[in-house]
């Protein structure tokens, strides 16, 4: 190689590879996960039982799936706080439709289409109208949940017996929703990690203007991401309906916190351009271990809420610190 030798004025010296790897936030997530498992197994021997953990994971699998796509949206420099409300509204529409006698397959399609439409509304406001996604999706967070409340009132809507309990089906020895999460993680991990589409998401999140100048269809890609988000939320809503056996307007209430938390704990950079599916994947398990551990330790749900809130803030501070060290 005949690359000219740089002087100090031309470029900073390169950081050794081990340092680059060590400073990755995913490593922090992984370390915390191992630590959490040790701590939790000291609390209860159940934690060494894989089946127990897998079973606990079904409670968060729906959020975790949506969090994967949320990760991609945050990397692209946007945010979506509405998916939990989207889950509720699409599930309510689905439940309402089938309760009104519409055949199940059609009702399911209605639910999914509604989710897609909600994603489209977010995309329209953010991309076509150029409004900040952070405020738009607070608005739709309230709107979608409110519409779910209008549809379902304070009642819960039953779903047919056969539709209930998809999380209890075991495929390859694990609950089906957990398997779905694994597959989705793998697929999205590859999409984000090795495809042109994934690369362009990073480019957009790092510098959207430069990305557009480099010929990247920034609007198209971001629209696609919001649509994916809508569809995934609706799908997660239906899965939740199946797990719970009935639908109320407060389905998935507060889920946005958990999803954002999974992305942040996994080292996704809140200002875009950095983050991985692997990080969010690990963070989802970390969160499940933590919250199950807290339940086993008989902590009130409210205390758990406090812990989640603290975790969210600590994880962003930690991630920011790591990135600012590597950014110089």
């Amino acid at each position: 190689m005949t690359i000219a030798k740089p002087t100090a004025r031309d470029a900073a010296p390169v950081r050794p590879m081990w340092k680059v790897l060590l400073l990755r936030p995913e490593l922090m997530t992984f370390a915390l996960l191992v630590l959490g498992l040790f701590g939790a197994s000291a609390l209860s021997p159940y934690f060494l039982d894989l089946a127990y953990i897998l079973d606990s994971f079904t409670l968060s699998a729906e959020f975790a799936m949506v969090a994967l796509i949320l990760t991609m949206i945050i990397i692209a420099g946007e945010i979506d706080l509405s998916p939990a409300s989207n889950m509720a509204l699409s599930a309510c529409l689905f439940a309402y439709a089938q309760a009104a006698g519409i055949p199940m397959p059609v009702a399911i399609c209605i639910g999914l289409a509604a989710g897609l439409a909600m994603g489209a509304l977010n995309a329209f406001m953010v991309i076509a109208l150029q409004l900040p996604s952070i405020i738009v999706t607070i608005g739709t967070l309230i709107l979608y949940r409110g519409l779910a409340q209008v549809i379902a009132g304070d009642k819960s809507i039953r779903v047919p017996e056969w539709f209930i309990g998809i999380n209890n089906y075991l495929v390859l020895g694990m609950p089906s929703t957990v398997l779905m999460f694994l597959i989705l993680s793998l697929v999205l991990g590859l999409v984000l990690g090795v495809t042109v589409f994934g690369r362009q998401i990073y480019l957009i999140g790092t510098n959207e203007i430069a990305a557009r100048h480099a010929g990247i269809r920034t609007r198209r890609i971001k629209t696609l991401l919001f649509l994916m988000m809508g569809l995934a939320s609706a799908f997660a809503g239906l899965l939740t309906a199946s797990r719970l056996g009935s639908v109320r307007y407060d389905l998935g209430l507060g889920g946005e916190l958990q999803m954002v938390l999974m992305a942040m704990l996994g080292g996704t950079y809140i200002f875009g351009g950095r983050g991985t599916i692997l990080g969010t994947f690990l963070a989802a398990w970390l969160l499940v271990v933590a919250s199950t551990g807290m339940t086993v330790a008989n902590l009130l749900p409210a205390v758990q809420l406090t812990v989640l809130g603290v975790l969210l803030i600590v994880s962003i501070i930690a991630t920011n610190a790591i990135y600012s060290r590597t950014q110089r």
């Binding site: 030798k5 589409f197 362009q200 510098n207 430069a210 010929g215 590597t326 110089r328």
Partner: protein
């Protein structure tokens, strides 16, 4: 001889490892208009910012009327009576003009009452003193740049500044507005204030200033009375060596029309732009900042498309609404502001180089790291980009090498038409020379090049033809044989010439 109002001794400044200013001594006298001139990156703006407390000097110090002073922030500078007026005036668009005048200077505690009536009448008084008609109770939002500058000048008067620094104030102004500005500047000088006028337009310096200081490569070259110097003296001091030493045009074969533009118009920005660029030809686009040059380039590339007009690439009429379409047609665009529209700071050099050619580094949409690395490495060698490793973030490279990487990105697209917007801004002289060689080599290979530049020597040395824009219109199309600094500037300031 009267005592200096502000003296600089041995001022030096380094950013990171790069020394941008070395041992500058300067005495500013009361009642003078003092020009700071020099090429881009010569250090004149950095020096001005040190005077105004925006930067702290790495070495040396300032004194006012014999007393050593520590200008640690813009606010301190303001209290000492030094005001810097930025080229893009600082304004708080939601606040009233009167408030903008006093913001940050209101003393007292937090709950200090705002004396609205006094503010308003004081502001009116100052505006009257300046002889400008701006309603001080209106919001800043919507004021023209010229009016915003007036507000900044009024602000300097409101704090009774003795030293007022103007950083290229005339760049965005119309000739008429420039004339008003000069009139006011003279009046302020006659009141005994000191004005520092940063510019690289010698005609303006000559028309307005009493003394001149020339900077080159971070050094003060000379200070003298303007009247003692000819333009040639000043230019020689700025450049330091004959242009030909580092600029030369390689003869290339000029072929068919590659890019043809007819009647391109974007209302309020530019009107009726028509020109053509042939294969192997380097066409310069000159004019003042804000004349609409960058806007035309952005329109051609689909960043902000024009409303009407015809663009033809290789004889085919095309419509370009997105940069991706432009790239598909063989256009490439190195934008003016590297940090904003060029680099992906935290991403690796190779990712930066490959950003515009996803198809070349992937199979079935899957990126091949091997292909990407090989491709980036080839470009790094071709353009001799100096870096420590391909995987290091591009933000860790020097400005010149970042710019080379951007150029590498576009060379990978095999462009037939290359648009360069101020490609050598803020780049070391040495790297500049490399750039000129590269541009020449591209033309020899048959690439049509549109070069936007504010540096006249650059346009004159490199281009086969020079187009000039003023106020959104194309005002001249000069062949290499007739293009001079004078003809270009005349076309760039069409209406009344230089305000006197």
């Amino acid at each position: 001889m009267t005592a200096a109002v502000l003296s600089a001794r041995g001022i030096g400044k380094s950013f990171a490892a790069v020394e941008v200013l070395r041992g500058v001594d300067l005495d500013l006298m009361p009642g003078e208009i003092h020009a700071l001139v020099g090429e881009n990156g010569a250090g004149k703006s950095t020096f001005a910012k040190i005077l105004a407390g925006v930067h702290r000097p790495s070495t040396g110090g300032l004194s006012m009327a014999g007393q050593s002073v520590e200008v640690s922030s813009p606010n301190v500078a303001q209290k000492l009576g030094i005001t810097l007026i930025h080229q893009e005036p600082i304004s708080f668009p939601d606040l009233s003009v009167a408030e903008n005048l006093v913001l940050g200077r209101m003393g007292g505690g937090w709950l200090q009452r705002v004396p609205w009536a006094r503010l308003t009448s004081d502001a009116r008084g100052i505006m009257a003193q300046l002889g400008v008609q701006i309603d001080v109770t209106r919001q800043m939002r919507g004021l023209s740049i010229a009016d915003q500058q007036m507000v900044e000048i009024a602000r300097a008067l409101a704090s009774d500044s003795r030293v007022i620094i103007m950083d290229e104030p005339t760049a965005p102004l119309t000739p008429k507005e420039t004339a008003t500005l000069f009139m006011i500047a003279r009046r302020l000088r006659d009141e005994g204030r000191t004005l520092i006028f940063i510019s690289h337009r010698l005609e303006e310096v000559r028309a307005l200033c009493d003394r001149i200081t020339v900077f080159r490569d971070g050094n003060k070259v000379m200070t003298d009375h303007v009247a003692n110097l000819t333009d040639a003296d000043i230019i020689r001091a700025m450049i330091g060596r004959p242009l030909k030493e580092y600029m030369h045009k390689v003869g290339s074969v000029i072929g068919e029309v590659a890019l043809k533009v007819q009647g391109l118009t974007l209302p309020g920005v530019f009107r009726d732009i028509s020109f053509e660029v042939r294969k192997g030809e380097i066409v310069g686009l000159g004019g003042l900042v804000g004349a609409g040059r960058t806007d035309v380039a952005r329109a051609l590339f689909g960043v902000a498309p024009a409303a009407t007009g015809v663009v033809m690439v290789n004889g085919q009429a095309v419509s370009i609404a997105e940069p991706s379409q432009a790239i598909g047609l063989g256009l490439a665009f190195v934008p003016e502001d590297r940090a904003v529209a060029g680099i992906f700071r935290s991403l690796s050099v190779e990712q930066n180089i490959s950003a515009a050619v996803p198809g070349k580094i992937s199979r079935w949409g899957v990126i091949s790291r091997k292909l990407e690395k090989a491709m980036a490495e080839a470009q790094v060698q071709r353009l001799s980009i100096r870096l420590a490793a391909l995987r290091q973030p591009i933000g860790e490279l020097s400005g010149g090498n970042q710019q080379k990487a951007i150029l590498a990105r576009w060379l990978l697209t095999d462009p037939q038409v290359l648009i360069l917007d101020e490609p050598t801004r803020g780049i070391d002289i040495g790297v500049k020379a490399e750039f000129y060689d590269m541009i020449g080599a591209l033309a020899v290979n048959g690439c049509a090049i549109l070069l936007i530049s504010s540096e006249l020597p650059e346009l004159l040395a490199l281009c086969d033809r020079v187009l000039v824009m003023a106020e959104g219109r194309l005002t001249a199309d000069l062949d290499r044989s007739v293009a001079t600094q004078e003809t270009i500037m005349q076309a760039a300031v069409p209406r009344s010439g230089v305000a006197a």
